[in-house]
């Protein structure tokens, strides 16, 4: 059970909050940290709210970084957080190519 009202401390602005973490969607470290303080306690929620990891590369670059930031903010180990689900297709596929399979 995860009490979403448990005290994770207040949001303290950081010097590197402007650093871009998800390059596809241009999401900064500060935005991710703030989302956690607004109750987004899981990778899936952070991702659904901010779109980090939802761009063309689908999180192949930033997934680990996002996890580290969320874990640090919650005061837990990264291994305690469930990763975002991997979704098909493995690589982007044109609609005309997908449609060819009959």
């Amino acid at each position: 059970m995860n009490d979403r009202s448990r005290d994770i401390g207040t949001f303290i602005p950081g010097a590197d909050d402007d650093m871009i973490i998800c390059r596809c969607e241009e999401i900064t470290k500060g935005e991710i940290r703030r989302a956690v303080h607004d109750g987004m306690f899981t990778i899936a929620e952070v991702r659904r709210m901010l779109r980090c990891g939802m761009g063309l590369c689908q999180g192949q670059t930033c997934a680990r970084l996002v996890k580290g930031i969320v874990a640090a903010e919650l005061g837990v180990r990264g291994t305690e957080l469930e990763s975002a689900s991997a979704r098909s297709p493995m690589r982007p596929i044109e609609m005309r190519v997908l449609g060819r399979d009959q």
């Binding site: 009490d3 009202s5 709210m49 063309l56 098909s88 044109e94």
Partner: protein, 375 residues
């Protein structure tokens, strides 16, 4: 840790979160118990984002109209998050005379209910959405339908409820409701935690069924798999919501430029998966169908797909309201694949019911005991 509240909401989907938000806004002490580790991980974050009136059952239509007139347009300001709501109309497309007959029937029934929807010929449809194929023969057109971002809407209600003091426990799977002195009073979770409230709102989608069973109630419903595919983002092309007479796909372009298409593989009734997973056939079959209406999209890449369950009742309309035989219990489930568009209205009505007030709109048509044995 909080174990008692005025109202306990079971289920942190769009419906539960909208209810918790409205209650917290009214100063009611509310606790939400969500089984999943992730808030909103059910259909509420997986749906196609349709905010439609057309195609609705007449019983649901007043809820849809109320939301579109009074809640959706201001939701962004009210919740402090842009939920990407667009009210730019819905085209339901037809390519054959058989399609035209289906669309005529739907349109006539909607007009009878007072909805502003009409048939347009192919050329007018192409004026509304210039990217449509010449194969489009006709369409029904409802100018006040639209779409919104379901992930943002669900989380915006959660965030706003939480900011107003609603307490959320995730990973708290409810197994049983227990009565005291004839009233629903206790909520028991898988971990053995026992919570207590004056009013319990059971908004757990298909999960509501097993929980309702523990106080002797049964709702005839089943689950069905629904799937979604998403393209890479491109510059804005159009803001309408689109569907077809055959209901073989529906979709829209989202604010970040991706097209989001709700699709089916044709075998969704037979899915046996424990978790909702995309089937191997749906995306391909849907791409063929979509390109038939939108050949211009052929080089767009699909970047992502997912699936979700819908909870379908025997008459495809939700169960929604207080349960007289179990005072203190409000049952709300079975949105049958169209609960997202009406979630803001549902949240308002449920919060009124939970506070013992007369709801803004009547909910009698959604009674839990409307399912009778065959005569």
């Amino acid at each position: 840790m909080k174990k008692t509240a005025d109202v306990i909401v079971v289920g942190g989907g769009a419906i539960g979160n909208a209810t918790a938000y409205n209650l917290a806004k009214n100063g009611v002490d509310v606790l939400v118990l969500e089984a999943d580790e992730v808030v909103g991980n059910g259909g509420s974050s997986r749906n196609g984002g349709g905010v439609r009136q057309s195609g609705r059952d007449p019983r649901e239509l007043p809820l849809a109209i109320y939301g579109i007139q009074h809640i959706w347009p201001n939701l962004k300001d009210e919740l402090g998050m842009d939920v990407e709501y667009h009210r730019e109309g819905n085209l339901r497309l037809g390519r054959t005379e058989a399609h035209r007959a289906i669309l005529n029937g739907l349109t006539d029934r909607a007009v009878e209910c007072g909805l502003d929807v009409r048939m347009v010929e192919g050329d007018e449809a192409r004026e509304i959405c210039p990217y449509l194929s010449d194969a489009v023969l006709c369409a029904s057109w409802c100018a006040t339908d639209g779409h919104a971002n379901p992930m943002l809407t669900t989380l915006a209600f959660y965030r706003a409820a939480r900011r107003l003091g609603a307490v959320y426990h995730s990973g708290a799977k409810v197994t049983e409701i227990k009565k005291q002195k004839g009233r629903a009073r206790q909520v028991v979770t898988e971990d053995g935690d026992v919570y207590e409230a004056d009013v319990i709102v059971l908004a757990a989608g298909y999960g509501s069924r097993a929980i309702a069973n523990t106080v002797g109630l049964e709702v005839p419903m089943h689950t069905q798999l629904m799937e979604v595919i998403v393209t890479e983002g491109v510059a804005p092309m159009f803001w309408q919501m689109l569907g077809t007479a055959d209901a073989d796909f529906y979709g829209h372009q989202s604010d970040h430029g991706s097209f989001v298409f709700g699709i089916t593989g044709g075998y969704e009734d037979f899915s046996t998966a424990v978790r909702p997973v995309s089937s191997s056939i749906a995306a391909s079959s849907a791409c063929r169908v979509i390109l038939g209406y939108f050949p211009i999209l052929e080089n767009l890449k699909i970047v992502r797909s997912w699936a979700g369950w819908i909870d379908v009742t025997a008459d495809h309309v939700p169960v929604f309201g207080p349960v007289e035989e179990v005072p203190g219990l409000i049952l709300v489930c079975g949105f049958s694949g169209h609960g997202f568009g009406i979630c803001p209205t549902a949240g308002l009505l449920l919060s009124e019911l939970a506070q013992g007030q007369t709801p803004t709109l009547p909910v009698d048509a959604f009674r839990y005991d409307r399912f009778k044995a065959p005569a």
